[in-house]
Symmetry: C2
Subunit: 268 residues, 2 copies
DNA sequence: CGATGGTTTGACGCTACTCAACATAAGTGG
DNA sequence: CCACTTATGTTGAGTAGCGTCAAACCATCG
């Protein structure tokens, strides 16, 4: 039977004084000055739409690592865009076994499912310090009505999160431990790359091995041994909380996972 | 390493002359007479919206069991609503290992992700004879513009499919074989129940054990042994291609899965 | 009938899990 | 500054759940 995971995680990792990414939490400029959007790594948006989004944004929120942003039991339909930092969605069984469903990176839209709640629930927890743009809970329909293109973008984001879930399900269901680790490293790197988080060929990597295990459906011990093996093969390096891929071709081959640049997605 | 699955599946199961469901393929009435919608098991819709949907519907399609409705490699953005019958979405690794991502029941909206293609691909295959409403490929944005409420519904459907994926990922990642089978049986029954497919306390069950294995990330042999065990415990019965749950409480307990009625979702 | 697809069962082996212990780094309070 | 604690990573030993291989059984079909 799979591992039970710890109930709490501590800030330790994310407080290392390294190349800062989530450490210096960005404040919240008006949407027109949004650093994320200005990176040019998202699909374009009109000024009208931008103004609407600004108006739709209801509040901002900053939270330290380990914060539960959405409780697994709650059914409040909070809506966020992750502006900076890392988080993850998860579900747990009643005996504590935890499955991480997917990791959330800047630009990801959070909480859409709760909004249409089915009773089904998931939790969201911050991995690093995070900054969130919080939207009006009941305004989603208004957004669709006022600016259909934005509604379209919301759907687009939902669809691309579904793609990630598809991949993760394939991984958990049909890949062995080595393939799983390779897939995860590659996938996270690709996703970070898309939103411009690569600095000096490396990305921040705030996961501990328990997170990796819970994301891949493996036990902590086996995850460790598998990661150690890939490390020994010189395929990647994690130092100072940052991940560098030393042989993407090999990882891509092991994972049987395409290593191409991901297309831009919208930013709400 | 997980099982390789068969490349092809044949109609065998679905052609049994039993209580007909997908056998007598429904023809396509105008949307106003849609049998599915008239079942009252979907969220309400206005006449204006209904007219638009009718217009948005571009063609109909009927396909026999085993038909590949969407090829895993294609990136054409076909859009369908499954009107009658069962299908499933899947991904395969290059050596043939297959993961079924989720099963599709009447009312499910198909093809949304391809529409926003990321390079990521999945296939869709008919389990039974299926009837599909095919929509205009490039008209999705028009739909959002013309009737935002319909766009909202599309998003809603995407979100509820995401919920199913979340559950399936939890299952594949953290449940053992017995729990997985129990979860699948219960989940399919609940979903079938929601759209009114229960007749005499049983639903059509067109999956063979290879499908179950591929959905749960198990090998065929182990799936068989596990199903046999649950059968021996008198928890369910499959006869003549129909599934009956004999002890939902027990299944729900084993699966650690809530056994409540699912809420209605929209129908496009 | 033989052919085919699906189900079932037994034997065996390996991957991944469990248990347990130890190492390391960082933080805390005295 | 040190003893103590906590989080995380590492390694070894033993085991079991699940995969693989192989063969048989059964039903349907041409």
């Amino acid at each position: 039977m799979p591992t039970k995971s710890e109930k709490k995680s501590l800030p330790a990792l994310s407080e290392r004084p390294n190349l800062a990414t989530a450490e210096d939490v960005p404040r919240f400029p008006p949407c027109a000055d949004c650093a994320l959007r200005k990176s040019g790594r998202f699909t374009p948006i009109t000024v009208t739409e931008l103004a609407f989004v600004q108006d739709f944004r209801h509040a901002n929120r900053v939270a330290p690592p380990g914060t539960v942003l959405i409780r697994e039991t709650s059914s409040e339909g909070k809506l966020y865009t992750l502006y900076a930092g890392w988080a993850f969605r998860y579900k747990t069984l009643s005996d504590g076994r935890r499955q991480i469903l997917n990791f959330l990176l800047p630009g990801d839209f959070i909480g859409l499912q709760q909004h249409f709640n089915d009773g089904a629930a998931y939790g969201v927890e911050a991995l690093t310090s995070v900054s969130l743009c919080a939207f009006q809970q009941n305004g989603l329909m208004d957004l669709f009505k006022a600016l259909p293109a934005l509604g379209f973008d919301v759907t687009w984001l939902a669809a691309s999160q579904k793609n990630v879930l598809d991949e993760n399900l394939l991984t958990a269901g049909r890949r062995n431990a080595t393939e799983r680790v390779a897939t995860l490293l590659l996938q996270l790197f690709q996703r970070a790359e898309r939103v411009g988080l690569v600095v000096d060929g490396a990305i921040e990597f705030p996961l501990n091995q328990q997170h990796v295990a819970d994301a891949l459906g493996l036990s902590l011990v086996h995850t460790n041994k598998t990661m150690r093996r890939l490390l020994g093969l010189g395929l990647y390096r994690i130092e100072g909380g940052r991940l560098e891929l030393l042989d993407r071709k090999a990882l891509s081959r092991i994972a049987d996972h395409d290593d191409g640049a991901l297309r831009p997605v919208p930013l709400i």
